[in-house]
C-alpha cells in the first residue's frame, strides 16, 4: 500500500491534463483584456497543450508518456542527464567504470606534472582478493636501479632489432578511432619522451610519420594500407612501410581484448575523406574488419604467415592476441617450435581492454582477463622451453605505475596502454568513442570538437605522464628491493585470489625454469 506521503503520479498527471487548458483559457482572457504580453504565455501553453495531446494520443513508443503526458518527460529529462549527474555529483571515487575517479586522477596529475601524494589512508579494499606488491625490508637505493632496456628482435639476431628504453608503450589506436590532433599529440609526446607508439590498424601512418617518433606499424585483420583487393597481404606495400626509418616494428593483430573473435569496427560517421583514402575503404558505410586474417586458419598457417611477414618486413614482428583457450595457444607455440619460427614478441591483450567501438557482449563477456591470461601464457612458454625465444608484452587497464609493475612481475617484459595515454591527453571518460561526439576531441572526426585539443600542449601532458610513470616505477622497484626491471617476478606479488591458471604460479613463487630471465636473481642479499 502506498504511504500517505508517496507521490501519486497518476493523480498529478490527471490534474495537469486539466490544468493546462484551464490555464490556457485564463491567460488568453487576461491577454485580451489586460495586456497583450500575456499572450506569450498563451502561445507557450498552447504548444504545451498540443505536445501533451501528442504524447497521450499520438505516439505509441513510450508507455510512460502515453499514460502521464508531458509530466513523464521529467523522467526522460532526468534520465538523459543521469550519467553526467552520477559522474559529477553522486558516484563516489571508487565506483565508476572502467576507470574510477581515483585511477583517472592519478593519470591526470601525472600528465600535469603535479605531486601525487595522498593523505590519511588508502581508499582501496584490503579484503584478501586484491593483488598487492610485496615490498622488501631492505629497499634498493633508487639511484642504483638500472635503466630499463629491452631489445626486441635480438633472438633472431636482427640488425634492425629495436631497443625499448621505457617499459610502457602507447597501445594501438588507429587514426580514425582517434582524431588527427590526438594522433599528433600522442606521436609528438612519444617523440619527446622517447617511447614507442603503435599506429593501430588505420592504414598508412601518414600523421605518425610526420611527428617522427618510434613506431610499431599495426596490421589489423583487414590489413588497411597493406592489403590486396581480396584482403590478403600485399608484401611490397608492407616492405615499403617497414623501410621507413621511424617504423621499428610490425604488429600482426590477431585479436583484441575488447572484441576477440571480431574484427575492428569504424562507424561511418567517423570516416573522413582522408581516412577513407589512408585505409582504402568507402565512406558511406561502417567499415567492419574480418574476424581473422585471411591467411591464418590454423596454427600452421598462422606461423607460416608470421614468417612471411617477418621476411617481408625485415624488422621485428610481433603478434597481438587475446587469450581464449590456453590449449589453442599451446598448439600455436608447439607449431612455432616445430617450424622454428617465433614472432619477436607476443602481446597479450586482457579482455578488460578498451576499444573505439565493439558490440557490448564482446566487450563484456568474451576472452580471458589479463591476470588469468598472462600467467597462463607464461606457463605455456616456459613449459615448452621457449620463453627466451621472444619478448612478452601485455595490456589491459595498466594505467597506473603499480598495475604496470604487477604485470611486469607476472612475466611481461614491457606493457602497453591505450587508455592511460588517452586520459593523459585529457579524456574525461565520456564513453562516446563510437559516436563521433567525443567532447574533448580525442575520438571524433568532428572538426569543431577536435578544435579544443591543442597538440603541443597535450603532447607535453603525454611526456609528463611518462615522466611520472618513470618516477614511480623507480620508487616501486626500490621498495620491492629490485635492482633491475628484469628482477621483477611472481615473488613480488601477493595475489591470494588470482583464479585458476594464475593460482599455480602464485603458489609456487620460485620459477623452476632456469631459462626464465632474471627472476632467479637475488637482489640485495635478500631471499
Amino acid at each position: 500500500m502506498a504511504s500517505a506521503a508517496s507521490i501519486n503520479l497518476e493523480k498529478i498527471a490527471r490534474f495537469a491534463q486539466l490544468a493546462v487548458p484551464v490555464a490556457l483559457v485564463t491567460v488568453a482572457f487576461v491577454g485580451h483584456f489586460f495586456s497583450f504580453y500575456f499572450h506569450f504565455l498563451t502561445v507557450t501553453l498552447l504548444l504545451l497543450f498540443l505536445l501533451d495531446l501528442y504524447y497521450r494520443h499520438g505516439q505509441k513508443e513510450h508507455a510512460l508518456l502515453t499514460n502521464f503526458g508531458f509530466l513523464a518527460q521529467a523522467r526522460y529529462l532526468t534520465e538523459s542527464i543521469g550519467p553526467e549527474l552520477r559522474q559529477y555529483l553522486f558516484s563516489d571515487d571508487l565506483t565508476e567504470r572502467p576507470f574510477n575517479r581515483l585511477e583517472r586522477a592519478e593519470v591526470y596529475r601525472k600528465a600535469k606534472g603535479q605531486d601525487s601524494t595522498a593523505a590519511f589512508g588508502s581508499q582501496m579494499s584490503f579484503e584478501a582478493d586484491e593483488v598487492k606488491l610485496r615490498h622488501s625490508m631492505y629497499p634498493t637505493a633508487a639511484d642504483s636501479i638500472a635503466p630499463f632496456e629491452l631489445t626486441v628482435g635480438e633472438e633472431r639476431g636482427l640488425s634492425t632489432a629495436h631497443i625499448l628504453r621505457f617499459p610502457v608503450m602507447i597501445s594501438a589506436m588507429s587514426y580514425g578511432a582517434l582524431s588527427v590532433r590526438a594522433v599528433r599529440a600522442l606521436a609528438r609526446g612519444a617523440k619527446k619522451s622517447g617511447i614507442t607508439m603503435n599506429t593501430g590498424e588505420g592504414g598508412y601512418p601518414k600523421h605518425h610519420l610526420e611527428e617522427g617518433c618510434d613506431l610499431t606499424f599495426q596490421m589489423g585483420t583487414a590489413k588497411f594500407g597493406v592489403r590486396n583487393e581480396d584482403g590478403s597481404l600485399h608484401e611490397e606495400k608492407l616492405h615499403e612501410i617497414a623501410q621507413k626509418a621511424a617504423v621499428k616494428m610490425v604488429e600482426i593483430k590477431l585479436s583484441q581484448g575488447a572484441k576477440p573473435g571480431k574484427g575492428g569496427i569504424l562507424p561511418k560517421e567517423k570516416i573522413s575523406e582522408e581516412i577513407s583514402e589512408l585505409r582504402g575503404v568507402p565512406m558511406d558505410r561502417d567499415v567492419i574488419s574480418p574476424p581473422h586474417h585471411l591467411e591464418c586458419t590454423d596454427a600452421s598457417s598462422t606461423v607460416r604467415f608470421i614468417r612471411r611477414v617477418q621476411e617481408a618486413a625485415g624488422i621485428p614482428v610481433g603478434i597481438k592476441l587475446c587469450l581464449g583457450h590456453p590449449g589453442e595457444f599451446e598448439g600455436l607455440v608447439r607449431e612455432m617450435k616445430s617450424q622454428g619460427v617465433f614472432p619477436d614478441y607476443i602481446s597479450i591483450d586482457g579482455a578488460e581492454g578498451g576499444t573505439g567501438a565493439a558490440p557490448r557482449s564482446f566487450m563484456d563477456d568474451i576472452g580471458l582477463p589479463l591476470h588469468s591470461a598472462l600467467p597462463a601464457v607464461v606457463r605455456i612458454l616456459r613449459a615448452e622451453g621457449v620463453r627466451d625465444r621472444l619478448k612478452l608484452f601485455c595490456a589491459g587497464k595498466l594505467i597506473s605505475p603499480a598495475r604496470q609493475v604487477v604485470a611486469l612481475s607476472l612475466g611481461a617484459d614491457a606493457v602497453y596502454t591505450a587508455r592511460g595515454f588517452m586520459l593523459a591527453l585529457g579524456c574525461i571518460q565520456a564513453l562516446q568513442c563510437n559516436a563521433n561526439t567525443c567532447p574533448v576531441g580525442i575520438t571524433t572526426q568532428n572538426p569543431s570538437l577536435v578544435r579544443g585539443l591543442d597538440v603541443e600542449q597535450r603532447s607535453q601532458r603525454v611526456r609528463n605522464y611518462v615522466d611520472g610513470l618513470h618516477h614511480d616505477h623507480v620508487a616501486l622497484l626500490s621498495s620491492l628491493g629490485c635492482g633491475r626491471f628484469a628482477d621483477l617476478s611472481e615473488r613480488n606479488l601477493f595475489a591470494p585470489a588470482l583464479a585458476g591458471v594464475a593460482a599455480e604460479h602464485v603458489h609456487h613463487p620460485m620459477p623452476t625454469n632456469p631459462l626464465d630471465r632474471g627472476s632467479m636473481t637475488v637482489v640485495g642479499g635478500v631471499s
Partner: protein, 129 residues
Amino acid sequence: MKIPKGVLWSCQIVAAMIIGFAAVTKFVGTDGSVFIFSALGMEPFGRYLIGAIELTAASMLLTSGFAAIGALFAIGTMLGATIAHLSYLGLDVDGDAGARVMMLSVVLTTAVPVLIARRQNLPLIGSTL
C-alpha cells in the same frame, strides 16, 4: 512519410525570409509595424522583443542543426500574431488587403513541416518525439 531534403530546405528558406523581413520592419519601425504594436499596447518594447525573436528564428532556420528550434520559435510568434489578428487587428491591417495574414499562413505552412521533420533535434524533448 519522409520529406525530401530539397523541399525541407526550401521551406526553411521561405519561412526564414518572411520572418527575417518582418523582423527588419520591426527594428526599422515602419509605420505599419508601429501602428500594429500601438494597437496591441506594446509599443515600442514589444516591437523590438518580437523582432529579436523573429530574427533569431530566421537565422536558426538557415542551419540544419538548429532549424527545429527556429521553426518552433517561428510557429510561436505566428501563433501570437494569429491571436492579434483575431482579437484586435482583423484581416485587413492598415489597408494591406490581408497581405500580412497571407504571409503569416505561409510561414506556418512552411515551418510546421520543418518542425515535424526535424523534431528529433529539439533539445531535451527531441528523443521522445
